[in-house]
Symmetry: C2
Subunit: 406 residues, 2 copies
Amino acid sequence: MAVGKETFPFMHPVRGFRLGTASAGIKKPGRKDLVIMAFDDSASVAANFTRNAFCAAPVQVAKQHIAGQQGEQQLRYLVTNTGNANAGTGQRGLDDAHRVCAALAQIAGCDSTQILPYSTGVIGELLPVEKILDALPAALENCHESGWVDAGVGIMTTDTRPKGASLQVDIDGVTVTITGIAKGAGMIKPNMATMLGYVATDAQVDPDLLQTLLTVAVNRSFNRITIDGDTSTNDALTLVATGASGAVIDEASREKFQYALDSVCRELAQAIIRDGEGATKFVTVVVNGGRDTDECLKVAYAVAESPLVKTALYACDPNWGRILAAIGRAGLADLDVNQVSLKLNEVLIAEQGGRAASYTEAAGQQVMDQEEITIHIELGRGEASETLWTSDLSHEYVTINAEYRT
Amino acid sequence: MAVGKETFPFMHPVRGFRLGTASAGIKKPGRKDLVIMAFDDSASVAANFTRNAFCAAPVQVAKQHIAGQQGEQQLRYLVTNTGNANAGTGQRGLDDAHRVCAALAQIAGCDSTQILPYSTGVIGELLPVEKILDALPAALENCHESGWVDAGVGIMTTDTRPKGASLQVDIDGVTVTITGIAKGAGMIKPNMATMLGYVATDAQVDPDLLQTLLTVAVNRSFNRITIDGDTSTNDALTLVATGASGAVIDEASREKFQYALDSVCRELAQAIIRDGEGATKFVTVVVNGGRDTDECLKVAYAVAESPLVKTALYACDPNWGRILAAIGRAGLADLDVNQVSLKLNEVLIAEQGGRAASYTEAAGQQVMDQEEITIHIELGRGEASETLWTSDLSHEYVTINAEYRT
């Protein structure tokens, strides 16, 4: 299941950024499950990783290698396998991640610290390193600037469709491209980034600025989605700026670039929700009138992660009492429920602590029957607002997650 | 579905505490859905209510009336309807709760402030007051000390079985009885109390001490269970001490009485989990070695409420990586995963950040196939411990909550 028609945008190639895909047969023979992304050592790289304390071995290695990029050894490659997360694997997992980097370095003619490794799939099983090493040459040879679609498919696990976003923006008369792919459908409540996302641009951006731009974009996109509240061990979003367009992002052009980057990241993050495990609804939760960001997010997540709200969405049931109950348990001090109002799309449901006089069950039903729904919550106690995106909780979600390993 | 065989203990009557049940036909004609509990005005009453800001109208009224019990007007009756929660109903809901109290007061010959009202069922619909008023005389007439089982059935909603606990303890040579009933199967993460619980004792206890004893017991029972993380709008646990046994609870006998009260409350709370919506597993989560209670609870709830952990439990799948991932995202500062270990029942699963050398999938499978499972988590950074109880997430949970109103 997934929400909305499957569409994949035209993926503008990013000059200086090449993608190659091959089959290592990690989980299923013949499945394209290994992706290499290559760029010159003049590129800048920024990344945000999961804050899960049990972060995966490749995340730990990637963090080390990215921290070294200011020195002699600039980054050159990203290498990703699906089918195995290499998480919860202790020291052996770290050794395995290093082995993959070392092998790619040898055939590519660079240092292993110039490579960032990524893994996604089942947690707690050892990485089948030999299978990956065997497939590295094919993936490397296969690298080309039009490899985005194949790579988007290559990084999928329980995803039912690839997720891409791409746009072009004019910076000082030069056309700059921003193109990205992402994967993820379950264990989705990113806390820094989604499971795996890769965005590339041919703009030229200083690494520190690139990291700042990325963190801002992530907090407006990947850090505002939740499918099941489960933050993954492997979340990583990586942004590479090749500089091949010659356009430089500086204080003057920064805002325009940020806006474009936000747009690409938001589109990718929303695509993850649309393809959420078992999703039949795409739900936007808007909280207005909070005292600060923190309390808006508390309310938004309480609603978005409530199993009772999510099953009501699945059932197309305008059981709005469950939304009020979730708001009420979100832990806001001194919440005056008489100031709270609730709308589903444009239909006023509740105000002053109870059902709105104008509300009819028929009007509520009409909204709930739609595939895309916005829950508007007004807290009436401040100026802060937050928006996040989520999906519903269906039989299919239970089926997928009760059968994932079998 | 429910975990374990349906059993209902022998319910020792509590001298001076009478229960009457009748059918008001609120949701289904003929269903016993109205319960009155009666006691003399020499009784002490303590209660803990939901902390949900959208607390129901009867909760608000009950809080007012219980606050007045130190004065001239001692409490005399508890009146409970199922099928309608009278929550999210604004001022009209408050008026309706007052009308029910006033009507009972008139036929019982007391003041309406001597009555505590309770409601449970669907949120956001107006209380059918006339139906309740019509059934009050029958329920009142029906009150007797052996009415516990009928009352246990009368307060059920999506519960599949009544929940009771009863024991006797010797206090200074006098046999003191503690007997209680509870209901609740969904929207269960009590924050002060479960949806509805009633415990009575014939001990004589000063009201302030009674409240203290109840709060301690609740924090060891109802406040340590979660089915779906959704704190209800109507949670209320009420403890009545009739004093009819003549045994006085004082500093000398306090500890013994607390122990017995804890036991009754824990049994009722665990019965709610066993009857959790769609539950096929009864799961105990034990967290040891935390720095303080708060961080133990953070980890325990992250595991107990993770949809991915819960679906793995449902599938009998020893997918322990999901448990590590939940521990890792619980938000503990500086968690050293190398100090964390994980056991399922007595099987060591993970230590030092990865799979234990001794672990075999067969051993994990054997534990997961059982109906009752204990997840032991050792954090290795302090002396604090916490225990809570939860259930799994099944297809049946989705079915129940997607169809509840239809």
